[in-house]
C-alpha cells in the first residue's frame, strides 16, 4: 500500500518535472526524475514542455507594457542624490552626532579663547563668590585698600594689594582661606554693588617656578558672575560681580581716565 502511494507520488512529481535544467533543490523531485529519466514517455513529455515554454517566451510584450521593464533601465543602479542620502536615518544620526560634537568643541574653544594664567583658579573663585554669604566673613568696615596691611601683618601675605581702581571701596567683611590646592586666598566683600574681591597667588611655570604674567585686565565668566582679573607682583586680584563685563568696565575705565 505504501509502495503504491510512493509510486503514485513519484508519478505526480514526474508530471510536474521542471522544464529548464535548473539545479533541483527538491530531493523528492530529483528522485522522481532520476527514476523516470530515460523512459520514452518522459523524454516526450520533456520535449513537449520545452517546446511549449519556448513558444510562451515568444509572446510579444506590447510597447505600452514593455516600457515598464526595459532591460537597459533595470540593470543600472538608481542615482544616489544628496537628498536621498540625507534622508537615510544612519546618515542623519551621524550628522547630528558630528554637529553636536562640533558644537561642544566650538563652545569649549570659544570659552577658553580668553584664558590666561590663573583663569582656572579665578573661575573656581567665581563659584565661591556665587555661594557666599556676608555672615561667613569677619566683619570689617574700612577702605579695601587698607586691608593689604592686615593681610601682611596678620596672615603674612605679601603683595596682597587691592589695585587703586578698587582701593576706595568700603568693605563689609573679609577672610583668608585655603583652596583645595592649599593656596592662601584673601576674600573681601564690599558694599558697592555687593562686589567681592579675591587675591590669590599667580600661576607659576611648573618647571622654573617663574610667575606667568599677563598684562592689563582680563574678563572671566561663570554662572552669571563676571570677574575682572589683573596680576601684580606675583599676586592676582579679581573683582567679581553678578552681572556682565559692562558692570565692571566703568570702574576700570575710571582708573584709565585718571
Amino acid at each position: 500500500m505504501k509502495l503504491l502511494s510512493s509510486m503514485r507520488r513519484q508519478r505526480s512529481l514526474s508530471n510536474c518535472a521542471p522544464i529548464s535544467a535548473r539545479e533541483l533543490a527538491d530531493r523528492a523531485m530529483r528522485s522522481a526524475i532520476s527514476r523516470a529519466d530515460g523512459s520514452a514517455e518522459f523524454v516526450h513529455q520533456q520535449n513537449f514542455d520545452r517546446a511549449v515554454a519556448r513558444l510562451v517566451r515568444l509572446i510579444p510584450i506590447p510597447a505600452e507594457s514593455a516600457e515598464w521593464f526595459s532591460e537597459k533601465d533595470l540593470v543600472p543602479t538608481s542615482k544616489r542624490t544628496w537628498k536621498k542620502m540625507l534622508r537615510n536615518p544612519a546618515v542623519l544620526a551621524i550628522s547630528i552626532a558630528v554637529a553636536v560634537i562640533a558644537g561642544v568643541f566650538v563652545f569649549n574653544f570659544a570659552s577658553h579663547l580668553n584664558d590666561f594664567p590663573g583663569s582656572v583658579t579665578a573661575r573656581k573663585l567665581l563659584g565661591v563668590a556665587a555661594s557666599m554669604r556676608p555672615v561667613m566673613l569677619d566683619p570689617v568696615n574700612t577702605d579695601a585698600g587698607t586691608l593689604s596691611d592686615l593681610f601682611f601683618m596678620k596672615h603674612g601675605l605679601e603683595h596682597y594689594d587691592v589695585p587703586a581702581e578698587f582701593a576706595d571701596f568700603s568693605t563689609i567683611g573679609c577672610r583668608v582661606f585655603e583652596d583645595d590646592e592649599s593656596r592662601r586666598i584673601a576674600q573681601i566683600w564690599v558694599a558697592e554693588k555687593r562686589m567681592q574681591f579675591f587675591l590669590f597667588p599667580a600661576e607659576r611655570d611648573s618647571k622654573t617656578g617663574v610667575v606667568l604674567r599677563f598684562p592689563g585686565w582680563r574678563y572671566i565668566h561663570q554662572e552669571g558672575w563676571t570677574g575682572a582679573v589683573t596680576e601684580h607682583s606675583g599676586v592676582c586680584f579679581m573683582a567679581a560681580v553678578r552681572g556682565r563685563d559692562k558692570d565692571l568696565e566703568r570702574y576700570l575705565s575710571k582708573s584709565t581716565d585718571k
Binding site: 508530471n15 513537449f48 510562451v56 510579444p60 510584450i61 505600452e64 533595470l74
Partner: protein, 193 residues
C-alpha cells in the same frame, strides 16, 4: 502618489492611465538593483496573456495590478510574501473572465504526447497557444499558465494556484494530452503506410 499615477504619455483607449515608469521600476527592482525573479514583469504580462488569451485584456490586468502595487508601495503596504504580484494578477484575471462565457465541462479528446509534438508546437503562433490555455477551465488554466512560464518550481505553483500535488499533476498530464489532440487535429501527421 500623484507622481506615480500621473504619466506623461497618454494611454491607449480602454487602457488605464500609464504609470511613472521610473517609479514602477524602482518599486519592483530586486535587492541591489538586480531584477527580482519573483517579480519578473515581462513574465507577469505573459502570465496575464496566457490566462486571458487577449492582449488588450492582459494589458488592462497587468497595468491595474502594477498601479495597485504602486499605491500599496506608496503607503508602505507591500506584501512580504514572494510572487504576490502573480497571485494578485491571477485573481484579477479570474475576476476579469468571471462575466465571460465559461467553457463547458466537455470530454475533450486526449492523445498521448507524440515524439513529433515539438515540431507541431513550433508551427503554432503564441497567441493560438494563449487562446487554447485561456479556454481551459480554472484551476487547470492557472496551472498550465504558471507551469509553462517556466518561472516557478512545482511547490511555488502549488502555492500560487492553491492546488495539491496530485491535482497539479493531473491538470498538467491532461493538459498535455488535450493539447496533443488539438495539435493532431490542427496539424494532422501523414499516416504511415
Amino acid at each position: 502618489m500623484q507622481t506615480i499615477l500621473s504619466g506623461k504619455r497618454t494611454a491607449p483607449a480602454g487602457l488605464p492611465a500609464p504609470l511613472d515608469t521610473r517609479k514602477v521600476r524602482e518599486l519592483f527592482r530586486g535587492p541591489s538593483s538586480v531584477p527580482d525573479r519573483k517579480q519578473n514583469l515581462p513574465q507577469l504580462y505573459r502570465f496575464c496573456f496566457l490566462m486571458l488569451g487577449d492582449s488588450r485584456k492582459a494589458q488592462e490586468v497587468f497595468h491595474t495590478t502594477l498601479r495597485e502595487a504602486a499605491q500599496r508601495a506608496a503607503r508602505g503596504e507591500l506584501p512580504g510574501e514572494p510572487f504576490w504580484l502573480f497571485r494578485d494578477a491571477r485573481w484579477r484575471c479570474l475576476e476579469a473572465t468571471k462575466s465571460d462565457l465559461q467553457p463547458e465541462s466537455l470530454e475533450m479528446d486526449e492523445h498521448d504526447v507524440a515524439s513529433e509534438a515539438a515540431s507541431q508546437i513550433q508551427r503554432l503562433d503564441p497567441t493560438q497557444l494563449a487562446i487554447w490555455i485561456s479556454a481551459a477551465p480554472d484551476p487547470q488554466r492557472s496551472a498550465l499558465a504558471l507551469f509553462y512560464l517556466d518561472e516557478f518550481d512545482y511547490r511555488e505553483i502549488l502555492d500560487l494556484a492553491e492546488l495539491k500535488l496530485s491535482e497539479l499533476s493531473l491538470f498538467l498530464a491532461n493538459g498535455r494530452r488535450q493539447l496533443q489532440a488539438w495539435l493532431d487535429a490542427k496539424f494532422p501527421q501523414p499516416t504511415e503506410v
